[in-house]
């Protein structure tokens, strides 16, 4: 009965735990994925118009960026707690918190990406008779895509990590298992859930990197030449 012993002995790594609680692990992973996915998708939908407004009306840019920075500074446990009276104990608390965090990163990167579009490219498109919408969709967004995708990767990886804290209201995905393991001193549960969480973050990061490569085939040759020097856009910060 060596297999059972790792549960009894409370080992860190326990195959028996993974086998017997596969259902719990799958459910927690799925909850983790939908909470993160919905949050980042919503943030993207909100961030685009905000970035466009901030670009169109310069006086708005300062307050928009300032406000999102303030939101980003608020620690996650406090953020979820402040949203508690608004939504009660529900997944909305976690999703809203994550949307607010992701907004900061996305608005900044979308804005920076759009502002880095060379004026020559804009002029050429206008000369070819492109209207503002076509200019945005066909010229500016594709050129801004690498910066936008860099932001999306940071936002997604951060959101996967911050979802765990949602365990305080019972909607933390894998964080729920970590929380439970913490209270019952169940080492295998904590380690397994943590490992899956890190694996999710890495997988999401690589997936988005792949999508970016597919969407912007023209950057591939330039990137290898530039990668010798660290890019500043990747030195972002994370809220706990």
């Amino acid at each position: 009965m060596a297999a059972d012993n790792c549960l009894v002995a409370n080992d860190w790594i326990c195959g028996e735990y993974v086998r017997t609680r596969a259902h719990d692990l799958t459910a927690a992973t799925l909850q983790h994925l939908w909470i993160t996915g919905v949050s980042v998708a919503l943030a993207l939908v909100v961030a685009f118009p905000l970035a466009l407004v901030a670009r169109r009306w310069k006086p708005v840019a300062g307050p928009v960026l300032g406000f999102t920075t303030v939101l980003y500074t608020i620690p996650s446990l406090a953020m979820y707690s402040l949203l508690l009276p608004v939504f009660g104990i529900s997944a909305s608390v976690v999703v809203t918190g994550l949307v607010l965090y992701s907004l900061t990163i996305l608005v900044r990167n979308i804005l920076a990406g759009l502002q880095a579009v060379p004026e020559d490219a804009r002029e050429a498109a206008r000369g070819m008779g492109y209207g503002p919408l076509r200019l945005l969709l066909r010229v500016e967004l594709p050129l801004a895509l690498p910066t936008v995708m860099a932001g999306l990767r940071i936002a997604t990886v951060s959101a996967i990590s911050l979802t765990t804290v949602g365990a305080i209201v019972g909607y933390g995905g894998l964080g729920n298992l970590i929380y439970d393991g913490m209270n019952t001193l169940f080492k295998a549960e904590v380690l397994t859930a943590s490992a899956i969480c890190v694996a999710l973050a890495i997988a999401a990061d690589l997936l988005l990197l792949g999508v970016q490569r597919l969407l912007t085939p023209w950057t591939r040759t330039r990137r290898t030449a530039r990668s010798a020097r660290p890019s500043r856009a990747r030195t972002g910060e994370a809220a706990a």
């Binding site: 310069k58 446990l77 990590s161």
Partner: protein, 241 residues
């Protein structure tokens, strides 16, 4: 919305501030942890980052450390450390977790700050006969100061945030007000505690942003250049933070 009014009452009642579970005691624990851990992290990370940046070596490590730090959930690390054999040593698991998450922003920003110093400036300093050490301290360090301070500020805010989470596995600090509120189903205390945590984080952010501006050894020279950058719209710093 009743919870907000009750939270205000709780925050403005003298009794909430006194005692071992009171706000003053928890705030003291939080500030103490933050100061100690920030000091340890700076002592560990900054010399390494400055020397690596000066030598322009180890860039991959310095940059990737930040990405790794982002992917690992702080909550998971806190719980793992508390359940590990270290968990027997009181505050140590918390201190280690706080330092672990403060080091990446310090290291990355200081390293990038050093490597972004114009090579021509370094070369001309060398031409005047300055030694490597002199170049590091008198040329590169002042030029890299703003980004180094961005790292320190980020690390400080990160520590305040992580210290809040340390309350979940039973550490001290303001997070305890929130977890106690959850345990007793006192929403007003959850909200009140969260207001205090948010206020502390914003205060720390503001203090370090101010210190970075006032302490900048090249404050006057930089001012004219900053205007130039702002007229183009966003300064580069917005993307990095």
């Amino acid at each position: 919305m009743d919870a907000i009014g009750q939270a205000w009452t709780w925050l403005t009642t003298g009794a909430s501030w006194s005692g071992a579970d009171g706000i003053w005691h928890r705030l003291g624990e939080h500030v103490y942890l933050t100061v100690v851990c920030l000091a340890i992290s700076c002592v560990l990370a900054l010399p390494v980052a400055l020397v690596l940046g000066h030598l322009r070596r180890g860039g991959t490590l310095a940059i990737n450390l930040s990405n790794v730090g982002r992917a690992v959930p702080t909550f998971a690390v806190l719980v793992l450390l508390v359940l590990s054999p270290l968990g027997r040593y009181g505050q140590w698991p918390t201190v280690i977790a706080l330092v672990l998450f403060a080091v990446p922003p310090l290291l990355t920003n200081a390293y990038v700050g050093m490597t972004e110093v114009d090579r021509d400036v370094v070369e001309s300093a060398r031409g005047t006969g300055m030694t490597g050490g002199q170049i590091l301290l008198r040329v590169e360090l002042p030029l890299a100061f703003p980004l180094i301070m961005t790292g320190v500020r980020t690390a400080a805010v990160q520590i305040v945030a992580t210290a809040t989470l340390a309350a979940l596995p039973g550490g001290g600090g303001l997070g305890r007000l929130i977890t106690a509120g959850f345990a007793q189903q006192h929403t007003y205390q959850v909200v009140g505690g969260a207001v205090l945590v948010a206020a502390l984080a914003l205060l720390v952010e503001a203090v370090f942003a101010g210190a970075a501006r006032l302490g900048d050894p090249l404050r006057h020279q930089r001012r004219s250049r900053r205007k130039e950058v702002n007229s183009r719209g966003l300064s580069k710093r917005w993307v990095t933070e």
